[in-house]
Amino acid sequence: MEKVQRALALVLVIAVGVFLTLTASSIEPPFGSFPLRQVGTEIETSVGQQYLENAPQQTGAANVVTSIVWGYRGYDTLGESTVLFTAVVGVLMAFRAMRRNE
């Protein structure tokens, strides 16, 4: 039973790996052609290009990544610091001494 499970798991890992690798090697357009995106027959530019063009004037930050992190996508970062808070509370939960107050 143990051996069957391990064999099944190995098959699963190999299948997922082959699938992902084949997918990755067929991505169009290839590595290094950032603003171009091809959806169907239409050639589009990625949203990232608009950030590069507008962010310095719109947010006044020289670091475009910062202007995304707290400007355009500030709500994400609020969520991110909430995850950090959650982890702190979780760790405190695991280590704070247990007292039964009857």
């Binding site: 930050a61 020289a62 707290w70 950090l84």
Partner: protein, 135 residues
């Protein structure tokens, strides 16, 4: 720990701490920001834990101080977010002047938010370490 490690870490501590503060304050100009900077500040205290043990580190930053820092950090983010509603129209909206591109006092609320996050990350990482090291 040996005397070499102790002396080196004592001498290095202010520099690493200052470097972390620099990274936090210049988050909107150079690579870095609140998250890496906060981790660097926390790492300077963790280095003291490694060299001297947890008591000495807690003399520098006690558990209560770390909790207060955490609360101040959250409060900074919350207040700036709500200021966006009060003075503008939407949560987290930028209501401060943008300033000149590339100067330290620029980018409106981004720099302030990064300071809040820097405090919060420092406090959180320290609290996690203190909790894991306590018995």
């Amino acid at each position: 720990m040996t005397i070499i490690v102790r002396t080196t870490s004592r001498l290095l501590f202010p520099f690493i701490f200052l470097f972390g503060v620099y990274i936090v304050l210049h988050g909107h100009l150079t690579p870095g920001g609140g998250f890496p900077g906060g981790v660097i500040i926390a790492a300077s205290v963790v280095m003291l834990i490694l060299a001297y043990g947890i008591e000495r580190a807690q003399q520098r930053v006690s558990i209560l101080q770390a909790e207060m820092l955490d609360i101040i950090g959250s409060a900074t983010i919350a207040v700036i977010g709500i200021l966006g509603i009060l003075l503008g129209a939407y949560f987290l909206q930028n209501v401060f002047p943008l300033g000149e591109l590339g100067k330290l006092f620029s980018a409106g609320n981004l720099a302030l938010l990064y300071i809040g996050v820097g405090l919060k990350v420092t406090a959180s990482i320290l609290l996690i370490f203190y909790a894991m090291l306590s018995d």
